[in-house]
Amino acid sequence: METSPIFTEPKIKHMTTPNFNEFRMRCSAIGALMTEPQLKADKEAGNLSATAKTALIKEYSRMVDGRMDDIFSKPMQKGTQQEDESITTLSLYDGRFYVKNEQRLKNEFVSGECDIDDNDGIKIIDIKSSWSNTTFLQSMMKPLDSDYYWQGQGYCWLYDKPRFEIAFVLVNAPFDMIESEKRKYLWSIGNPSEHNAYITDHLAQIEKNHTFDDMPIEYRVFKHCVERNDDDIARIPAKVIKARQFMQEIFEKRISR
């Protein structure tokens, strides 16, 4: 999972004019940047879509002002806390010894840090720890999300690899998280001092929903593969240049007020 700095100082300091020409799109956000605008004229002019602008406003908020949305979501917490467990599960599934990649790469236009840079020389892998059995099955049954497709193109470009794999992995939620879910349920029914059979069953169900040791490993891993597409990669720089201009616009509008 590509992580973003949390609770860190903004990269670009206030009161100085940021140099947006050095802005690079994170691989995980390239997908939004590459969405096409609705109007034909905008499309032909290579302008940014509304989705791209929304994503860039978030990037601006994160980079310039050090403010981030949605950093405490439970799925994200699980993903962060269980990352190593997910890599181990994928290692066992593939029968390959994987090591967490800690090298963040950048080129002139994009930056990113994939989860695994496989030493087979062919692929890089990103891992998504699914929140629940349902979200895992949904990821399995849906066609590959375009955000992941573009994230893969970004990584293939950065790591110079012909293939990107995105692995959805189902691992247990951390103990504290399961206990927190149980407490939340008990709180919602008024913290009864005694647990009847219904409550005990409900607590057991919460635990079952978040633990998967009873499932064979083959049921707990699913992969989408993305082949490198140099034509699509070649389209990224023009959009990043537009993104830089849009961020400059945000900055100027703010200081002019």
Partner: protein
């Protein structure tokens, strides 16, 4: 594997070196008599065969071994009486050896006291609980098992005086207990993760004895020293490092754990060769050490 070195004055002391010192050998002879050399050899073998334990501070290994010798519990893992477990204390920047007693160890000590007629513990399966009374206790019918689902763990003892007691904890209670007392359980690794049944049986046995049994001096000592880093060789000064310290696994621990699981899963020598080809060169020694046990 080379054991870690500590400096005593100008001399470098390894775990092996520490155990070869005259005063140390004498101490074990006092405790174990003629069995001392065999016991020391088993400690050194355990230390050498465990990468993390090999890094542990020699004196913490000595104190944990002295506790096992004091209680006269062998450290052979296959017997399950007592263990020396490494703990990587990142806060202090060192690896320490922790003494842990297995539930069979508690049972052994209880039997030795001469006061127990029976003592046992077991997982309880769905359907086996026939009565749950908070005052008089639990009753089980082991013939009524309806599925393979473990719902709890029970321990039981009866004394020669006729007093008997059963203690039961649901799986959820055991997990809460583990979460409260073991950081490694909360983080999803360690003996609780790898050997839940045995740890659960130990928990109910230990709590049953602590709450209801007449404790011999040895049993009290064992209860205090269990899961502790022993700070002196008499075992009177202990600290429960796993209970309150945040001990996240190091990157090396995680990779070792992953490699161990991958090697455990290997079905043939060919599989092992494929795995070895992916392992970074700096981990080849570790790979060889773990793979040796596969014996294809």
């Amino acid at each position: 594997m080379e054991t870690p070195a500590i400096y005593e004055g100008a001399k470098v002391l390894t775990t092996k070196g520490l155990f070869s010192q005259e005063n140390v050998r004498k101490k074990f002879e006092e405790l174990l008599g003629k069995r001392a050399p065999q016991f020391i050899a088993s400690v050194l073998q355990i230390t050498a065969s465990n990468d993390l334990l090999a890094k542990a501070e020699p004196h913490s290994v000595l104190n944990a071994a002295a506790m096992a010798a004091t209680l006269d519990l062998p450290l052979n893992a296959s017997l399950g009486f007592a263990y020396i477990i490494p703990y990587n204390d990142r806060k202090a920047g060192k690896c320490l050896a922790q003494f842990q007693i297995g539930y069979k160890g508690f049972i052994q000590l209880a039997q030795r006291s001469g006061q127990f007629k029976t003592i046992a513990s077991t997982p309880i399966y769905e359907g086996q609980i026939v009565e749950m009374n908070p005052l008089t206790g639990f009753k089980f019918d082991f013939a009524l098992k309806t599925s393979d689902k473990v719902v709890g763990y029970a321990a039981f003892f009866s004394l020669v005086t006729g007093f008997e007691k059963t203690f039961y904890m649901s799986v959820d209670d055991v997990k809460k207990h583990a979460g409260k007392y073991s950081q490694s359980f909360k983080n999803g690794y360690g003996v609780w993760k790898d050997n839940f049944d045995e740890m659960a049986c130990k928990t109910v046995t230990k709590l049953l004895l602590a709450k209801y049994a007449p404790m011999s001096v040895e049993m009290e000592k064992a209860a205090v020293a269990d899961q502790a880093i022993i700070m002196n060789d008499s075992g009177t000064d202990v600290t429960y490092i796993d209970n309150h310290e945040e001990i996240p696994m190091t990157k090396e621990d995680i990779q070792r754990n992953r490699l161990q699981k991958l090697i455990d899963n290997a079905k043939s020598a060919d599989d092992l060769l494929k795995i070895r080809a992916q392992v970074p060169a700096e981990m080849h020694d570790l790979f060889n050490e773990i793979a040796e046990a596969k014996n294809f």
